[in-house]
Amino acid sequence: MEENYILESDWYRLDNSAKIYPAIMTERQTTLFRYAFTLTEEIDPELLQQALEIIFPRFPYFNVSLRKGFFWNYLERNNDRPTVHCDTPAPCESINDIYNNGFLYKVLYFKKRIAVEFSHVISDGYGALEFTKTLIFEYLKLKGHNPENDGSIMDVSEKPDKGEFLDDHKRYSQIYGKPTEEEKERNLFGKTKAFLIKGRVLPADRYHIVTGIIPSDDLRKKAREYNATITEFLTAIYLESLIEIQFRQVKNPEKLRSVAVQVPVNMRNKLESKSMRNFSLFVTPTLNPPKFPGFDELVGFTRDFIRENATTKRLINILRDNVSVGESPLVKHVPLFLKLPITKYIVNTSGSSQHSGTLSNLGLVKLPEKMTELVEDIVFNLSPDPHAKTNAAVIGYNGRVYLTFGRVIKDAPIERLVFRKLVKMGIHVKLQSN
């Protein structure tokens, strides 16, 4: 009964993470992230459109439009048809409702590349990647390549599972109950402000992307020298670069701020979940001034911080606390027209100034063997962040790691420092950019 209700319902509540995004969405802060798959041959837009039409009924939770209720935004089933468009110079441009038929994702093509841009309102990196993989798989099938599905691609002939629709933040918070005062891990108020890079901000229609293609074995080997994972190692380099930039930009030692990098954690690796909607949380390694350590200590600090804070127990506490904020009567019963500006104010003042950047590592993407021969590159990038100004996204595919920086400022200080450090360590880096 409940299953039918979810499958047939023409509207869904926003999941707990997504509730914040409608308040902060602007032409600059688009909340869109992107996967770009480069194939070995030129894209045929008509076949891509056909592939999209084959797969989109399999993902009903993505075929929605954002609507306003009296207390909360909600997602309404969109019965229109998604269409493919030619790619733009600036990735993650804001979605135009009229142009995009009200959908919260875009499918784009350019030469040999198929890109899918997803709004965080409907999903996180995991859900969007499953959608993109399925799209590319169906496209290649239509192209006549007939790749075999080894189970890593979703089956479009199957009915969507009820679990895919669920807001697992809420589900697990109901299982574990409300947090006690000691268990609260609230991270919005009462923390010191982090350093934010200064620079000439680009107009809203520009977003610079630089991708460094790195051999994964070299990077893993280097990370292992420091007894760290790739995420921990890259976060440490990111932190060190931020520290150097702060020393360069802030001359007065009394004005030095903490340096913090947000690292998303996929909760599906911690808790059983089939959800295709947002189900990730953050840990934020933070270094306080004036004692900034050397690189060896920095890697050790980052490694220990991530390992201590990304434990299932701590993350569940954060999850329970996050849900309890939305469930509190003060938040729940305030009309949306009041809630949105208040949320926007809090996020733009307290929330966004607590990290100097974001580094999201999606991990290794595995495709069926035949598909791997036809897909050359996979690039993943995050949405523009007007506060931290830069962010980094990492994805591994076919023996390579793609480290992509996005920035909304003219100069590229972070990218420059990070890639130069990697080159100095003897790691080969090949660049792509827009």
Binding site: E27, T38, E46, Q49, S65, R67, K68, D80, R81, T83, V84, H85, C86, D87, T88, P89, A90, P91, E93, S94, N96, D97, I98, Y99, N101, G102, F110, K111, R113, A204, D205, R206, H208, I209, V210, G212, A412, E415, R416, F419, R420, V423, K424, H428, V429, K430, L431, Q432, S433, N434
Partner: protein
Amino acid sequence: MSYCVECGVELAEYHEECPLCGTVVNNPKRTIDLSKNDYPIYKKHHVLTNRRKVVRRLVGFILTMSFMMTALIPMLVDLRVNTAITWSVYPLLSSLLLWFSIAVPFFKKRNTFFGDFSISWWGVAIFVFIIDILNSGGLTWSRYVISSMALVWVLMAGIFIPFKIRKFVPVILIYIVTAVGYFLLLASWIADNSAVFSLVLPLEGSILLVFLVSFFLVRSKMHGIINFILLILWDTLIICVLFDLIITNYVRGSYAFTWSFIVVIALLPLIITALIIKRRMKLKGLISKKLHR
């Protein structure tokens, strides 16, 4: 392959300079191949709507042609029957108003809310002015409408006024001067005329009502270019009918359809076409396919 001498990174074939430090690539053994770009190239005046430019122009052109036809056909019929332009002046004017309000924004490089609002607003004012001239032979009832519309436009301009002007001229001063001027003007007219309650207010009210209904429709349910066009056509039709009823009541003392009948006949084919396109997914799909870039 080329490497940046400063950063030590390998560059792509299309890089003329290092994207990290800006160092110019100086490798005599290679040619820079911009066609191998991984992303479309930024144009000098790239704006967010850039990729829609051609589609927008095409839509503007189609709308222009449609409005031209709805103006020309009645005019030719009128000329053939009456050997003069008589009643056909109304569809001509209505088509002009529609073209001004709907098609012109599609030709603009950058659309702003206030810019598009101003075009539509003054388009309606000119329309009302000409209708009055044609019906009454002079500026009679339309002066109330136009002056009220001017007042509303100034109030709106106060909200959207650029900071450069706001710095020198306080908005409140503009509001006070305009409001006083408007009420003095109105008082001088009302001294020998009682059109305010029977004409000006109903006309303003009808515009406000249509605007509010459209606004909430767009905010709540509607998306897609066809719905948008349908809404504008429908709004124009309703406004014309309401205007006609109110004006006729004021002039003759009883409600009747006069010139708005012609507007209805001119607009109905367009509305029906838009509805057919909306209903028939195949046709809609074809249009999307043909218009997408």
